[in-house]
């Protein structure tokens, strides 16, 4: 077993281990309902953090509109689930919803990539930022209904749909989609997270992954060795968008009201995901998962401090940033903790 396989297995092990511990706690009734409610959001934020890390850490392109892809995945899948709620049984419908959500997010990732990834520089950041905002505003103006005659579509108002009295308005402008079936569960979330980890970690350690990282490290050198820069960039970015779409599917099937508003899919939400990635370590997939879980849990566990929790949360972010990345602190930590004889280190020395 080589080093990377071992490291990958540790990541899966942490996720599966956390899952087993939580399941045991749940079965024995030791988990508060507050924490139970946090489990699914934790998984989808971890999934989108993994997706963004692929884009920012492995591909080296800054995306600050990743929640836009999450939004696409959420709305396309929620629309499908709402439209076919009575026609298809739950399990195949939810699987189809995943396929649709992922496909749409990937499609948009691909379309955005075509012009932007040919360029060098920070253009992707600018375009994804705009994309996230545009998608939000378009969905806010979208009205889609279904009745006996089929689908009705307009971008004006729900009256312009001209629906039959028995019609059902599925996407109602700013009101979004309400009544999406509640299908997401912790188990499904963990499965999606494991699949996302599997895809990303295997991609990173593959021939393609090495090509992608070569582009990140030195564009000219990579190009001169015959790597097709644009197509590898496209591949990584589309996969990243697709995984973000999967997070969106989990999101929309966890909460019954889905609105395309800033607090879920806006610029700030995208930056929050970027914070997870940066604090977890750029390019460190396992770190993203752990950081997403901790940073999502933290403000919730600090509820006892009322409004002070925002202050504490920001201080924790700053402290984490300094402890993780400041060269002086890293040096100091090595000096202080480097001498401590940890059991696994001893084992390694013996080996």
């Amino acid at each position: 077993m080589n080093k990377t396989t071992k490291s990958n297995l540790i990541t899966y092990g942490i996720v599966i281990g956390a899952y087993i511990i939580v399941e045991i706690l749940m079965l024995t009734g030791n988990l508060s309902s507050h924490l139970k409610g946090l489990l699914v959001p934790m998984t989808y934020y971890a999934v989108i953090a993994v997706a963004l890390n692929l884009c920012v850490g492995i591909l080296g392109e800054l995306s600050i509109g990743h929640c836009g892809f999450m939004c696409i995945g959420a709305f396309s899948s929620a629309f499908f689930s709402r439209a076919t709620e009575n026609a298809i049984p739950t399990v195949p419908r939810f699987i189809l919803a995943f396929i649709i959500g992922i496909a749409f997010a990937a499609l948009f990732g691909f379309l955005i990539g075509i012009p932007v990834l040919r360029l060098k520089g920070d253009y992707l950041a600018i375009v994804t930022l705009a994309f996230g905002e545009i998608i939000k505003n378009v969905i806010n103006a979208l009205y889609i209904g279904i009745d006996g005659k089929g689908f009705h579509f307009t971008m004006k108002s729900s009256m312009d749909l001209g629906m039959e009295p028995d019609g059902d308005i599925i996407v109602n402008g700013a009101m979004g989609i309400t009544g999406t079936p509640h299908n997401s569960s912790f188990t499904v979330g963990i499965i999606v997270l494991l699949i996302a980890l599997f895809i990303v970690q295997n991609l990173v350690n593959s021939r393609d992954g090495r090509a992608i990282m070569a582009i990140r490290d030195n564009y000219i050198a990579a190009e001169s060795t015959g790597i097709n820069v644009t197509s590898y960039k496209m591949m990584a970015f589309t996969i990243s968008a697709a995984i973000a779409g999967a997070a969106g599917v989990l999101f929309s099937h966890n909460i019954t009201t889905l609105t395309a508003s800033s607090q879920y899919f806006g610029f700030n939400a995208s930056i929050m995901i970027l914070v997870y990635v940066v604090l977890g370590g750029i390019g460190n997939i396992r770190g993203s998962v752990i950081a997403a879980c901790i940073l999502y849990l933290l403000p919730e566990l600090l509820r006892g401090f009322n409004t002070y929790r925002m202050l504490i949360y920001s201080i924790v972010l700053i402290v984490m940033m300094i402890v993780n990345w400041s060269p002086k602190v890293i040096e100091w930590r090595k000096k202080t903790f480097g001498r401590i004889n940890l059991p696994w280190r001893r084992a390694k020395e013996v080996a």
């Binding site: 942490i14 956390a18 511990i21 939580v22 706690l25 009734g29 030791n30 988990l31 508060s32 309902s33 507050h34 924490l35 139970k36 409610g37 946090l38 959001p41 905002e133 505003n137 806010n140 103006a141 108002s157 729900s158 009256m159 402008g173 700013a174 009101m175 979004g176 309400t178 009544g179 509640h182 966890n254 909460i255 019954t256 009201t257 609105t259 508003s261 800033s262 607090q263 879920y264 370590g281 460190n284 396992r286 770190g287 752990i290 950081a291 879980c293 901790i294 849990l297 933290l298 919730e300 566990l301 509820r303 009322n306 409004t307 925002m310 993780n324 890293i330 930590r333 090595k334 903790f337």
Partner: protein
């Protein structure tokens, strides 16, 4: 670096495990909550962020009602314990807030304050069969489950009431509308208003939308209404945007009658807003802080003493909500040792029988659908104060 990464991830993993264990500690306290000798009422609203004014009003208004009830001997002789939680205007956080209140032992929920959050939470109260009374969740879907009731008018009802009021009082022949199509509340009222306007004695001549991203310049929307010859402009929006609209209409020399709904309440408190511009503005509102009846005077005085500001309709709705719960609980004769589900069933049955009076209406009754039945009140601003429009 590799080693350091390993150390960090170990530390983080253990922190995660610790966090989970910390959460479990809360779980143990859960069962102790019910069965004690007091009712536990929870409230949810945005206490931080852009809509903090609404959430704080709800949590504070309910607090005043709880204090009054406790001072007067409680519900059926039992005291009330009360706790408010923050949802940051985020449906996801609202469900988290609900779950954390549930761990605290909440038996009845006053909330959530805003529509989208209330709908998301109602999915959970339905599953747990907990009685939910939203003071201000006005979207239609908020009360789609039988365990959820509301105090305020629904958005559609406000749209219908506005259309009828304008028609019945012959206020206009041509109506222009400016609304926020990125807002659930505003577009909900707008839709029903237009539907209801068909066949009325006026005509809707312009309907212009804006969004929260471009709510600073309304000259285009106003110009369209002016060009179409609208003599009344209907503003189903919140007061902060409306203040800008009134100012800009004044600058361009356009002076139709402006007509608002309950979101307009608060326009006289906007900073740097020339309140003389609001002269003649009509609005449908359930609550006016300067009304002279004893109940309102008393409430406003207490609220000002405790929180240092004038209460708005959200505070009034929440205050009424707690008293409505009290009335229903007394009618159903529930005790704190009953399970959440039993309390819900009993209170649900009592809700359709009680007749409540409070700050927002002298007489309120409820249908099993959860909709309140009360008279809409219209006020007009004269000399800088609300005057009944009748």
């Amino acid at each position: 670096m590799k080693k350091f990464n390993k150390v960090v991830s170990t530390v983080m993993a253990s922190a995660l495990a610790m966090a989970m264990l910390a959460g479990c500690g809360d779980g143990a306290a859960q069962s102790a909550g019910s069965g004690s000798g007091s009712f536990k009422i929870g409230a949810i609203g945005p206490l931080t962020g852009a809509a903090a004014a609404y959430g704080n009003a709800v949590v504070n208004g309910a607090q005043i009602a709880v204090d009054e009830i406790n001072a007067a001997g409680g519900i059926n002789g039992y005291q009330i314990e009360y706790k408010g939680e923050d949802d940051e205007l985020n449906a996801e956080k609202s469900v988290n807030a609900y779950n954390s209140l549930k761990d605290w032992g909440m038996q009845v929920l006053v909330g959530s304050t805003t529509s989208a959050c209330s709908i998301a939470v109602s999915e959970n109260t339905k599953a747990d069969n907990m009685f939910q009374l939203t003071p201000s969740g006005s979207a239609e879907d908020c009360v789609k489950y039988d365990n959820v009731f509301r105090v305020c008018f629904s958005d559609p009802n406000q749209g219908i009431a506005s259309a009828q009021y304008i028609s019945d009082h012959n206020l206009a022949t041509k109506v222009g509308i400016i609304y926020d199509n990125s807002d659930v509340y505003s577009s909900g009222i707008y839709q029903k208003f237009v539907e209801e306007s068909a066949g009325k004695n006026y005509e809707v001549v312009s309907a212009e939308a804006y969004t929260q991203d471009n709510n600073t310049d309304f000259s285009v929307q106003l110009q369209k209404a002016k060009d179409a010859g609208a003599d009344l402009v209907f503003l189903p929006i919140y007061y902060s945007d409306a203040a800008l609209i009134l100012t800009q209409a004044n600058t361009m020399g356009y002076a139709p009658t402006f007509f608002g709904v309950d979101g307009m309440d608060g326009i006289l408190t906007v900073e740097n807003f020339d309140t003389s511009l609001a002269e003649g503005l009509m609005l449908l509102t359930p609550f006016a802080a300067d009304a002279t009846d004893d109940l309102t005077v008393n409430f406003v005085k207490k609220y000002k003493e405790k929180y240092g500001e004038t209460p708005n309709q959200f505070a009034a709705d929440a205050y009424d909500a707690v008293f409505i719960i009290k009335a229903a609980m007394e009618k159903a004769n529930v005790t704190p040792d009953m399970s959440v589900s039993d309390i819900c069933d009993a209170v649900k049955g009592a809700m359709v029988q009680i007749e409540a009076s409070g700050l927002t209406s002298a007489k309120m009754t409820w249908a099993a659908s959860g909709e309140p039945n009360k008279e809409p009140k219209a006020v007009v601003i004269k000399g800088g104060v609300y005057v009944s429009a009748e």
